[in-house]
Every structure is written in C-alpha cells, then in structure tokens.
C-alpha cells in the first residue's frame, strides 16, 4: 500500500491485442469480461439493453448475456439503486448505470442510507458489492443537467468508494477492480474524453488498485493534481510548462475516495508546489480536501500556497457559455507559474 502506482499505459499492453479502444469501448470491454468471468455480474439501468446505453457503454451485452443479466429498468433512479442493493445483498454483483450524473440525486438516499452502510450495519453479515456507473462532466454542449461534476457529494459519504478513470486502460483496469470489489463503488466516467484517445486494451490489461493515484508524469518543480477529463488540459499545461523549463509532476487522483494522500504528499513534499484542477465548483469541492490535507500535513514543505483551478461556485452554465466555466490549460499554466514565482 506504500508505493505509488505509476501510469500503466506503457506497462500493461497485453500480448493478445488486436485493436485500440476508446475509453467508452474500454468500459464496454471491462463489463463484457467481468460478465464472462462471473455469472453474478448483472447490468441494469435505463436504455442499456437493445439501445446499448445512450453512450453505447453496454452495446452488444444484452445479445451476448441475455435479458436476465442486462436489464432495462423503468425510469426511476431511486429504484435502480434500491434494487441493486437488494440484489447485492443476495450475492449478485449489480453494475447499474445512471444515464447522466445529473440524474444521480434520487439515488442518494439509497446510496447514503443503505449501500454505504449495509456491511457496517450488519457487522459484515450482509454487504453491498455493487457498482454505480455514471457519465459526468461538461464540454460536450449537452443540455441542462447533463454536464455537472458533483463527485464531492459522494466522496464525503463513509462506506463508498469513488473512482474516476481518465484513459481507456485505466477505465478498463479500474472498472474491473470496481466490479470485483466487495463494497459499493461509484464509477464516474468523464464523457468528454469517452472517445478522445484510443489505447490497446484486452483481457490481459491490468486490473488496478482502487486506492492509488497514478503519477502520469514525474517532475520536481511543481505538482499538478487532477482527475477525469481535466487530465487532458492538465497534461497540455504540463507540456507547455515543460517547454518553459519547469519540471512538472502530474498526478491523476483517479480514486477520489478513499483518497491516496500518501502519493500526493510524497509528490508535493518533493516539489513544494501544487496546483489542483477540477471541473466541479470550487467551494467544498474535492480540491478543498486535498489542499487542506497538504497544508495540514506538509506545511513546512510548501514553497507556495496551493492553487486551485476549478469551476466557479455557480450552476454549470448552459452550453453557449460552458467554456467560461471549465478550467483551461492557460488557467492551469497561470496558476502553476504563480506558485513557481512565489517567494
């Protein structure tokens, strides 16, 4: 549990690779393999059957595994979550899809009061090995309620895990781990990068730990910390900063809860400078916990105040103006330069 897991893109290219997959295809493959490996894995959600999900994450799985294992539900997120808990308590491993994270709120009572508590409430007699998947985040010019990032609400809940991949390989490895995990995992898929890059993914692709950050880039001057779709802008910013001569470390948090503060602390103790980037509103966001923990546990090592580059404390604007909300590479660069020039 002590060493950081470095980016697996280059390490885990499996031997039997035939084609490269986008992130949403990697999700599909992970579901497929999990279902093939374990009869107890079942899928449920709105439009996941013949339609294959509105983003096609479950495409082809109904034909392959049948109606009993790929279930189109009525339109009711409270219900989807409630029955997942009921099935999980009987030993099935439901993987439920919430069509967009903006519609996850009816699920919260079930998640907070039951999924997160079943093991503790019964001292291990019953448990809740379920996964709740939801695409999230902005930047695809979607309608109202289709672009929010509210991972903080889930991260605050004891008993849940919250996982966010940012590449096809990590999507595959983390989703398979999430399904294997005996506890409830919220798996949030940054839909802006669903089809951004392709990577070779196969059955041999590594299953990844659920409590480890990924160090995507090593450096010594400043640590950029992000997750999900913002990893894209973060890497762009890192590359530009590198051109300016700064040595940049980039961490993809990926496992938001439990938070792997050890990897983060080790990095920031080294660099002394840190910028945290996320799409969610700033106040009371996940960035706050990371920033607070850094200052509490590594105050002496901080050469500059931690910077947060985030969404504003406003409702996600409709799409004409969403660009004004989302963190941009230049915002990240500016914040990094501010920490670098701090004295």
């Amino acid at each position: 549990m002590n060493s950081s897991v470095s980016e697996t893109v280059d390490q885990s290219i499996p031997q039997e690779v035939t084609e490269k997959l986008s992130m949403v295809e990697a999700v599909n493959l992970a579901l497929d393999h999990a279902m093939a490996d374990d009869q107890d894995v079942v899928l449920l959600g709105e439009d996941i059957g013949v339609n294959g999900g509105v983003f096609r994450a479950t495409q082809g799985l109904r034909d392959k595994y049948g109606l009993k294992r790929v279930m189109d539900t009525p339109l009711a997120e409270t219900l989807i979550t409630g029955i997942s808990i009921g099935m999980a308590a009987q030993g099935l491993k439901p993987v439920a899809e919430i069509q967009f994270m903006g519609f996850i709120f009816p699920a919260l009572e079930q998640l907070i009061c039951h999924a997160a508590r079943m093991r503790n409430r019964t001292r291990g007699r019953l448990s809740c090995p379920m996964v709740l998947r939801a695409p999230f985040g902005g930047g695809i010019h979607a309608p109202e309620h289709h672009s929010e990032s509210t991972e903080t609400l889930l991260a605050h809940i004891p008993g849940l895990r919250v996982v966010i991949p940012s590449s096809p390989i990590r999507a595959y490895g983390l989703l398979r781990a999430a399904i294997n995990d005996p506890d409830p995992v919220i798996f949030l898929e940054p839909k802006r990068i669903y089809r951004a890059v392709k990577q070779a993914v196969s059955y041999g692709t590594a299953i990844l730990p659920l409590d480890k950050c990924f160090t995507l880039k090593q450096g010594s001057d400043v640590t950029l910390i992000s997750w999900g779709a913002s990893i894209k802008e973060t890497m762009e910013a890192a590359n530009t900063l590198q051109e300016y001569g700064a040595s940049v470390e980039v961490i993809d948090v990926a496992t938001i809860k439990p938070l792997d503060m050890e990897t983060i602390l080790t990095s920031v103790r080294k660099t002394g400078r840190c910028v945290i980037i996320h799409e969610a509103c700033k106040s009371f966001g996940v960035g706050a916990e990371i920033s607070a923990a850094l200052a509490e546990e590594a105050l002496a090592d901080l050469k500059a105040p931690v910077e947060r580059v985030t969404g504003y404390d406003i409702t996600m604007p409709y799409y004409r103006m969403e660009d004004h909300f989302l963190p941009k590479p230049e915002d990240i660069i500016k914040a990094a330069l501010k920490t670098l020039s701090f004295h």
């Binding site: 189109d72 009525p74 339109l75 799409y319």
Partner: protein
C-alpha cells in the same frame, strides 16, 4: 384476483384514424373556429419543430426533442388554459408553449444553450422546461397548493411522458393532489417510448391512467391524436379543478414519430413497421381530413397557412441566430438576489479572464 378486474379506465375517442366521426360530436365542435384554430396551431408547431431539428442537424443548435406526431396534446391543453393558470411543461411541449404565446425563438434559445430562453416576459408565471424527469409534478402540486391557500380559482396543468409515470415524484404528487383536492390536471403524453424503453416494459399496468387510481383520482385514457377527444377530456378536467373538485389524470395515447432527441437513433431499437403504422394515426392528417370533408378547409387555406408558418418561423429563427452571447457576468448575477462576497470575487476573476481572452 386479476388486477384488471378491479379497475376500469374509460377511453375517449371521437374521430377515427381518417378523421371520420365515430360518434355524435360534442356541441362545441359546431363552432368551427376552435377546430380550425387547433389545426393552424398544430401545423405551425410542426413546422417550428422541423426547423428546430434542422437547426440541430446543421450545427446551429444543441440536442432537441421533437414533438412530431404529438402536437395535439400540448396544443389542446394550452389552448384551454387561461392566462392566470400555470403551465408546468416538460421538454416535449413546443406546441403548447407556442400556444401560450411564448416565442419560438425563446424555445430555440433554450435548446441553443442559453438560459435567456426561459426568461422572457411571455412566460408569465409558467414554469421553464424541466429536464429531471417527473420532478415537475411536485412543482405543479405546489403551484396548486398556492392557488388553494390564496383562494384563487386557477389551475396548474402539468405534462410528462409515459416514462415519467415510473418515477416516485409523480405518484407522490398524485397522492397529494388526491389528499388535498388540488386544482391540477396531470396530462401524460404516452408516446409509447421512453427513449428506447417501450411502454410495456415501463409498467405492467394495463393503462398508465390507473396510476391516478392509486390516489383516488378520476383517471381516463384519451386518444391523444384526436383533438376533439382531448378537448373533451381536458376541458372537463380543467373545469373540475377550477371549481374546487380536485385533480384528474389524463393519459393521452399517441406516438413519438421522431427519434427521442436529435442525439438518438430510434432505428436501433424499434421496428419501422410500427413507425409506419403510427403515421397512419397522426393528429394533423386526421384533423385536416375532418376539416376538408366538412368543407372547412381547402388547399388555398393550406398554402396560406404554410406561408404564414414559414414567415413566422423564419423571423423567429433569425431572432434566435442573431441573439448575441450573454454577458459573462450573467453567469454570476442570477444565483442570489444579494450576491455573496466570495461570488463577487469569482465574478471579477471570470470577467478578467474573459477580457484577457478577448484581447
């Protein structure tokens, strides 16, 4: 103990698929103006709807949910509402919104990603579009409660899809409507599909109207492509609500002739035969036949109406396309009547950033 035995839901229909009367028509139909008005409204709405789809297809607007084939429901409901009544619509109500006097350009602005589409004066106290399914049912119950508290004889009319009837929000609102005798009309646009989920796997109940039975409410089915049947059902429900006798649930049977939205491809999950058949039942053709057969409509009027529609739509589309971007400050200014200091600070940052980019 078969459930069906416990429950009888009436079904109202006046016109057959070809627009022929199936029974004695109600007296109000003698006044042809109403029917012609319905026809005109539906034709204009369908043209506006087609334009909205076209704007999306040509990259000039975002995702849009077409009301193709379902024009009768929304049109009749909103024609029968009075000005001080409150409409609580859902996202497939373009025809009704236009009937309420809301400019098409507002609706295009909304789907074009601009909050100002729900801001105009024409909206009055009507609710903006509602995306989280069935949540608007609670708002309708609240609006109706306000009427009751204030002794106002207004009505709250709330629309939703067949899929929405599965969400608890809907049944919670039904229950309250029954308990408090609220002046609400619940209108279900049963277009047979909730995205890819067909009616029969949305609910095992033989009708969706009978959801109202759970709350002790009068509940009926109506042919949702038949303006006469709709007019009968909705006006009687509105009268009942207005006179203090409580709410009604109306399930209007229709068909979604288009994709769920422009982001959807219905051919992935539904048979083209089903679609073809449904075209035979659509509401505009039906009413046109009726009017033609009675000599109330002719080709000249039709052409004139089409020109009117085009003119109106062109000018509204122009207004939409010419609407400049909102101010960056707008993103901040409407969160609180009194802007918190921290938000003020963030607003200044955003403005500075926007200025920086502009230069």
């Amino acid at each position: 103990m078969k459930a069906k035995e416990y429950c009888h839901i009436p079904y109202i229909r006046y016109l057959d698929d070809e627009g022929e009367a199936l029974q004695q028509l109600p007296a109000w139909t003698e006044n042809h103006e109403t029917l012609i008005d319905y026809y005109r409204a539906m034709v204009i709405a369908r043209a506006g709807d087609a334009k909205a789809v076209a704007l999306q297809r040509t990259g000039q607007m975002g995702t849009y949910p077409s009301s193709l084939g379902q024009e009768a429901i929304s049109t009749v409901c909103c024609s029968l509402l009075e000005k001080d009544d409150v409409l609580i619509p859902y996202y497939r109500d373009l025809p009704g919104l236009m009937k309420r006097g809301i400019p098409l350009s507002d609706v295009l602005l909304y789907w074009g990603g601009d909050e100002r589409g729900s801001a105009g004066k024409a909206w009055g106290k009507d609710f903006p579009n509602c995306v989280p399914i069935a949540t608007q049912a609670g708002h309708a119950a609240g609006v109706a409660t306000a009427f009751k508290i204030r002794n106002q004889h207004h009505v709250a009319l709330v629309s939703m899809g067949d899929g929405a009837t599965s969400k608890g929000d809907f049944t919670e609102a039904l229950n309250l409507a029954g308990t408090w005798q609220l002046p609400i009309v619940f209108i279900i646009n049963n277009n047979q599909w909730a995205i890819s989920v067909p009616r029969k796997i949305q609910s095992g109940a033989p009708t969706l109207a009978q959801k109202g039975v759970s709350a002790g409410l009068p509940s009926i089915q109506v042919d949702g492509n038949d303006v006469i049947a709709l007019h009968e059902a909705v006006s009687s429900a509105i009268n009942q609500a207005r006179s203090g006798k409580g709410a009604t649930v109306i399930e209007a049977i229709t068909y979604r002739l288009g994709d769920h939205t422009t982001a959807d491809d219905a051919s992935r999950y539904r048979e083209s035969e089903e679609l073809q058949e449904a075209w035979g039942r659509e509401p505009i053709k039906r009413l046109r036949n009726f009017l033609y057969h009675r000599g109330l409509w002719d080709e000249e009027k039709e052409q004139q109406l089409k020109r009117e529609a085009t003119e109106l739509i062109d000018s509204e589309v122009k207004r939409y396309l010419n609407t400049p971007l909102p101010e960056v400050s707008d993103l901040f200014d409407y969160h609180y009547a009194q802007m918190p200091a921290q938000l003020e600070k963030q607003k200044r940052q955003a403005l500075a950033k926007a200025n920086g980019r502009a230069h």
